[in-house]
Amino acid sequence: MTAGPARPATPRYDVVVVGAGLAGSLVAKRLGDRGWRVLVLEAGTRTLDSWPGHLDALDTAHAALAKVPNAPYRRNPAAPFPDVLDLTGLPDGGYRADGYFLQNGPLPYGSDHLRATGGTALHWMGLAPRMHPDDFHVRRAYGYGRDWPLAYDDLEPHYRAAERELGVAGDADEQRDAIGLPFPPGYGYPMHKIPRSYLDSVIAARLDGVRLREAPDAPETTLRVVTTPHARNSTPNPGYDSGRGHRPRGAVGTPNYGERCVGHAFCVPICPVQAKYTPLKTQATWSDDVTLVAHAVVSRVLTAGNGRVLGVEYQRYDDPASPAHTTRTAEADLVVLAAHAVENAKLLLLSGLADASGQVGRNLMDHPVLLTWGLLDHPAGPFRGPGSTSGLECFRTGPARRDRAPFRVEIGNWGWSWPAGSPSGDVSRLLGITGDPSQPRGKGLFGARLRRELGHFVGRQFSFQFAFEQDAESRNRVTVDPRHRDRLGIPRPVLTYDLSDHVKRGIASAKAVSDQLFRLLGAEDHTAYAPGTSAPGWFRHGDGAFEFKGAGHAAGTHVMGASRADSVVDPWQRCWDHPNLYAVGCGSMPSVGTSNPSLTMAALTLRSCERMHRDLTELHRPAALRLPEGRP
């Protein structure tokens, strides 16, 4: 460094990671283990990484009227986040958005995220399937969306690394056999698969082997109920890792607790025993070279003028309830944005960086979800165990993708909680309490009749969740509007969102499949889509009307590609325009397939860590590196 006017001392690190969520926690783990000095700046508070803080969140969730994903987590005006309750449907269709997201699209973006140490995966469901090899080249093979600059095979070893890190429970043989996923010979997951629910078994008994056409002229598809890989603790696989086995991680603050899923059926919004993976578990194993600073909202990435970035500017606050904060900077050789798909795009836009391609913020994707729901002819055992333990995987790929979005079918173990707010909606209805207090109320049932009716009705509930691949479209995007700022003066994200006809055709096909599934099951179908307060995602398509929900799977906002001309990050998630700026997370994904995205995101992130390590090593050569601590 040349001598110049003295600058205020700014702490210097090898790496600054923005965000202590799933992606950021993995980066800090990997680079910290290699001896790099890592500073993690986290916008939210860290009340959840202590046992009392966890119990407080649990109480908050129990006391919440609506057990939505963000119910346990305290609002934070210094680092606001969206909530699914921010959206209201209008009586004749259309929607209103009142919360953190400003929305101006034809359809609402219906997913939330969480800003607190640990991030959105505090309230994720924890399903951890791999993407299908076909999902990586949808444009080449099926003529829609965008292709990855990588193939499944490039990611395969990193999938294994991610499964180790998250402690995934699954059955590789079944995944290979039923879905066609390639695994190396002899591979087993760290833990045995999560047992499937009674409901899964009933559905399997009635559907397995049945051949079905989604339309009269379509080819036949053979149905099969397949268990889903989960990032939640089941029985460790003694044969894992060449017979070394796997040691499950227990709860943060109470490590011998939560080593097994005990069936709390509360994974979203919070697993009481922490049997489900959260990034707090990775954080608990960070090396001493990792420093976490919470209450630190990054507002801008700082540049040197030569394309390289210098570090970040952040707003440090003490009390979430007070607007007081101080502006600080942190410098590092490498900056890694891991703030979630929407927030990463927002930061790049606010910093005016990485946008030579014009793609920053564009290609916003989610997994739009169609729910269908009904009653079995006998008790189904709803509200027990993880939210979904099995699914139908046969619509995930194949030639039909040319015409319509593919989909994964999750068998929903939690009754009608998502489609109809059960069981509280059922109690209200049977008591004659209508949603609108100005309307006259029905007479209502009481006593033994009420009890019997509820048991008979709620006890037979089940649902299907059809999750669609959404194609990357540049019109679906995140922008920022300086006229709308949060408490710290940072512009809030504006979302423009719609579904392509490809997706809408997928939704219509899935509904036709669902109709057949209900018939095959001999179940009473109660599915109905009507506009109104609780249906912001209601829309018409062709002759039909549908309603979709968000899955929480934000992706695509800093899209990865093979060319700097049309993508934001390279195959290492490194910004094309800035050699020492990475943007990691689902925001990099050019297509999302139909699998829940976080395992793929984790694999991609671990792969990027190798490149980050090489970048740092090159920068520091010939300085000797320390051996990673505690490693052979």
């Binding site: 649990l58 109480d59 908050t60 969730a61 129990h62 006391a63 919440a64 009227l65 057990k67 047992p195 629910s197 009674y198 078994s201 399997a204 008994a205 397995d208 089941s234 899923c261 005990v262 069936g263 709390h264 059926a265 509360f266 919070i270 009481p272 006998h378 008790p379 189904a380 055992g381 709803p382 509200f383 027990r384 165990g385 993880p386 173990n413 939690w414 069981p423 509280s424 059922d426 109690v427 209200s428 008591l431 004659g432 309490i433 207090p437 100005s438 006259p440 109320r441 007479k443 209502g444 049932l445 009481f446 006593g447 033994a448 009420l450 009890r451 509820l454 048991g455 709620v458 006890g459």
Partner: protein, 160 residues
């Protein structure tokens, strides 16, 4: 035990009697929630002693059958107490009843306490447990719930 020892009176006996009629659950189950006192106090606080008194009179006049209540205020109180027991949530009253009672508090629904959610009776109606509380244990979700047939087993699938 000395039969001359005074037996302490049970807490809120009238409220429990009424709650048995409203919910269809017996006294033993209701008391087992540990919430009798809290629910009694919540009801009195929400609608006032006078309205509770009129409700009790109306219920007696209906022969103790909540289905026979004709007065809309009393019927809404019956709905509210039952809702409270089943879900731990005091519900919104109907707007006209809220006005008729001259309530000064906002007419909003709220969960009375975290335990109230946990002790909601609705879960028992179908042999369930409150999600996030009272976990039944690893793998229990694979077993048939009471009243359900064992699923037909396929070729060794899931034979745990």
């Amino acid at each position: 035990m000395d039969p001359h020892d005074p037996v302490p009176p049970p807490e809120c006996p009238g409220f429990v009697d009424v709650s048995v009629r409203l919910t269809g659950f017996d006294e033993f189950t209701l008391r087992g929630t540990g919430l009798v006192r809290l629910y009694h106090d919540t009801t009195v606080e929400q609608v006032g002693r006078a309205a509770v008194g009129r409700f009790l009179d109306d219920l007696a006049a209906a022969g103790g059958d909540p289905g026979g209540l004709t007065d809309e205020v009393s019927r809404d109180i019956a709905r509210a107490i039952t809702h409270l027991w089943y879900l731990g949530v005091w519900p919104q009253l109907s707007r006209s009843v809220h006005a008729a009672l001259g309530r000064e508090k906002p007419n909003t629904a709220f969960t009375v306490s975290p335990e109230a959610y946990t002790e909601g009776l609705v879960w028992q109606t179908f042999h369930g447990h409150p999600p996030g509380a009272k976990a039944p244990g690893f793998g229990t979700w694979a077993d048939p719930p009471p009243g359900a047939p064992a699923p037909a087993r396929r070729t060794g699938e899931d034979a745990r």
